[in-house]
Symmetry: D2
Subunit: 339 residues, 4 copies
């Protein structure tokens, strides 16, 4: 850490700074400069970062020279994390496709969709039971009843299951019934929920908050890892943008940006990102071409009867074609195919 002092700093101000730094167990080296004296500070910087040095009188600038230590970082773990969910493995060079309806609506419909998902060669089944909806008057999901339907259909089709958790009080119900919990965009910064998931050790799909930076998102993941749970998969699902042409702005540059910083797998949700099912195939292919570890896609046997997000659900035949495209694309992206 580098501190640039104000040239007019008083001896008392200087003493206050020095004492604070030394109280945090850090060392100080001085270096004169035209803009004022520089202090190069070393030692337990994580502790010193808790102190608001910027607001001390006599300090004109504080510059961090090293990144805060993070369990999710490449510096901490060089090889990619692989997260095991039932029989599936996410990350480490494999392709993961998660398919299913936005919400679990009834057992029959869910089973019909799950059979299509299975037949398409996808790896996991999604289905919401606790649905966070913008309006309190929209369908909010079947709750525990929906979770149990999802569990049964998952067992019947042999597909591991993913479902959203929105409340720390549901942790037992979710962990005991689904193979992977999902934290949605609205709850990325619900830290109490993240801590509970961390304690559970259960696999988790952590969606990016609608206005979260890459750094915010990795720090949210860190809440889970810091509790001893390494089973975190990141999911980019579009960030808030200004264009009414699409529901969100899909940030595919997050793929290389995350991979440069973190060992966590990253998958893409083109369904929520655009809200337009016709745009989903192009963006799913792009995600795999850019190196994503997988995609999560909404599919429904009858979108006209879907109780949420009908606009973005693909029909089963289109979903099947897309899965085939993605397998080819994945081989190209991994250079296991020749021109």
């Amino acid at each position: 850490m580098l501190i640039v002092l104000d040239p007019q700093i008083s001896p008392a101000q200087r003493s206050a700074i020095d004492e604070t730094i030394r109280a945090a167990g850090c060392s100080i080296a001085e270096m004169p400069s035209r803009r004022g004296l520089l202090l190069l500070v070393d030692g337990d910087l994580d502790r010193l970062r808790q102190v608001p040095l910027k607001v001390f009188a006599g300090v004109s600038k504080v510059v961090g020279l090293s990144k805060p230590y993070a369990l999710n970082s490449r510096e901490h773990q060089a090889e990619p994390n692989v997260v095991k969910v039932g029989d599936a493995r996410i990350g480490g060079g494999s392709l993961t496709v998660i398919g299913g309806p936005c919400a679990v609506e009834d057992r029959e419909t869910l089973l019909a969709i799950a059979n299509e998902v299975k037949a398409s060669g996808a790896n996991l089944l999604r289905g919401g039971a606790y649905k966070p909806r913008t309006s309190p008057y929209s369908f909010r999901g079947l709750g525990l009843e929906g979770l149990l339907m999802l569990r049964d259909v998952g067992l019947e089709t042999g597909l591991p299951t993913v479902s959203e958790i929105t409340d720390p009080r549901h942790i037992e119900a979710c962990v005991s019934n689904v193979d992977m919990v999902q934290v949605g965009t609205r709850n990325m910064s619900n830290f109490d929920l993240l801590v509970e998931i961390g304690k559970s050790g259960h696999p988790v799909l952590l969606k990016r908050g609608r206005s979260a930076t890459i750094a915010d998102w990795l720090l949210a993941a860190e809440y889970i890892l810091a509790q001893g749970n390494p089973n975190v998969v990141l999911c980019e699902r579009g960030i808030r943008g200004f264009d009414p042409a699409m529901r969100n702005t899909l940030d595919l540059a997050a793929i290389p940006a995350i991979q440069a910083r973190s060992h966590l797998p990253i998958i893409i949700d083109p369904s929520h990102a655009t809200g337009v099912s016709a745009y989903v195939p192009a963006l799913a292919r792009a995600a795999i071409a850019a190196g994503a570890d997988g995609v999560i896609i909404e599919t429904h046997t009858d979108p006209t009867r879907a109780r949420s997000d009908a606009d973005q659900a693909m029909l089963p035949a289109d979903f099947r074609d897309l899965c085939e495209d993605l397998r080819l694309m994945h081989r190209v992206a991994n250079r296991s195919i020749d021109a």
Copy 2:
């Protein structure tokens, strides 16, 4: 509701649409147009809105002609809502100033700050006990111990208290110890939490989500009102912007925009909006000039010892001057002063 049909619609497609509309108990009137037949639909539109008419084959456009009904709307209640918090009343033409530290740190510091807040003529005392922090390694508040300190200091100084709630499991502890709970920007869409607060009937300060539209925010408030709790005060605290010069972008146009739509009081948080204490007075004055019902401002007797958000805390003397300015500004904004 108006539905524009595709000119190439088949009789079977048309039947499916008509049946769906009639099944929801709505009536249909037809009107021919060059762009295809128009259906004017009337009746229980709230029910029909649950159906994804847009994805029906043969429909080219669906146009809403009326707004969904909302408890927070001016249409529902013309006169402004007034929320009683202890002895304070927020809304309805009065000026509310909430002051205090970002976080409760220790009893002595809190009491010193509270005495300054009281002496400045402010109305409520703020202080965080459960702190949502971007990094899991930052200070996250004293929890219940902090709540109890806040309660005691509130009683000692005669100031009603406000503190953040982040977890539905804390509802009892919060409701029984503080006069008003605050939902922070990260939890505006934590709907399970909102429902609990709704059930409690306790006064709540609902901050705007960092990427929430005006409509999203009012629907979040609606979650609370729909549970029978009318004691909601909105708080604009800056939305996500692109300029690194400030922590957030303060959207003061939310004041007239909310007032045109809703009867709920609205206050402004210039401290979090900018993250720069030097900008706080100008924006607090602007908020009152624009017609806000109040402001919430961070103040600390010694920002160099603050354990969070030190950059944005005002010193007590500056806070006192600002409170005076705001009272004058409020009289001008309410035309109770002459030039």
Copy 3:
């Protein structure tokens, strides 16, 4: 166009509206509704759209039922536009790669880069001579001298050339020396410049404005087409986002969104979008996978000597590998390869 009248409209207000509509040569049909009388207006709506019907007393809502007519739309021209630039053809199923330095710096460097671009199999050579720079103290390009260097190096290597135009007074110099002019993000709404380019009939690469919606961008293209110049290629280069991790937010969903609306070709600029050369290959591959007609990429033989945007320039060997990847990816995206 549909006009919802206020139930309390007076006869005089109603007359004023009717006269205005009829004066624009449009017809009116009435339809009663619970929310007030509806007027269905047909005829020369482009003319009527110039009138601010929304502000007429007695009007509560105006709803457009059809899109404004546009030369760039799929409705106007179903087949994709193909733009010929020298020997190259952009759009219509071919893959276009444009490579070269951010700025023309000197003849020798430019020739060395151009030879690499040619050897990599790319199709066009880029190089800025008139550089819009955020700071007036940055290098602003060699101007006409740079254009002439680019022309000579283009002729020597057989590569058609692209260079930015920033001023309508440069139209002659640009059109007579480069094969395609580029309008940068800062000038997308410089309509006087667009009109001049429209009149020239010259091929143009129209970058998306940093805060332009899809609709804004297509209307900017329309300025050029409306002058009789159909030779417009769109270029997505990242829009303004909130994350400091990247220079801009690359909006790859613009590819299917543009293709759904317009017959104009679209290419992607991952270099400016991210500002990080290490992220360029992943995003270039993603662009082609999503169906883009090409990419424009910065490459430099010695980034340490580059006078602008050094961070985002790829080294020639990396550029060559990427070009190979893109050709394979293009065959996969066009299904001209089997698994």
Copy 4:
């Protein structure tokens, strides 16, 4: 400037860096640190900033310790700039109100509006003759004919005039006919236009670009100042936001942020910021309360006949009331009134 070297830097890499720094006439001092050797560089840093030191092999980080020198900065000129426009003076503690129609439509209407503006006590008359419009099919203004009407009406009413310039080829016509030229949001980064205005020495109202940061905007102003023209007034008019409730997001925090950095006056345009005339009074009052030097507001005697931006134009009677409010607010903001 501080350069953090990679601990694995080779002697050849180190030499390349040192030579480049010395070639720019700068000095180097070394300082060892745990993260690698630090180089403290001093001297002609403006020159060295042209070199992309970050991309040199062996450099892990470059940190600027001082701001680039700028003519618009408080460091360059401590006292506020005052810009003289005809008889009006903008900045330095006075209140400036600019009123008038969006576009000059005909002489009679303009004169009627101008008389109202004058009677309201406003200081300058606005009116667009060259109108940049998103669609090429919208009314684009009367051009030179409109400028001449504005000049005549300005002379007749004694109001100095402001009108937009969009093309460097119009500089003579604009400078000789209007008292102040305006650069609109779409042309803030039209640097060729800014340079011409800089050379003219004419007063200019420089609107903020829709996606410009505070730093981008000040650098655009710097283009004008760098040509020897100090007569620059900044105008915040809303930045691109995500909420469809308003046309733009008005960033009133720009007022203290600009005043902390620059000596240039700043005024606010609430009409374009919101696009809703009913919100204009609240935000105009807020702007003056926050310390702005003035406002620019659209007013029209008959918005139903306005040929652009009718939604945001105030009626003359409302404009007059607002002007009175603003004068009172200005006295309060300047503490020339007592409670």
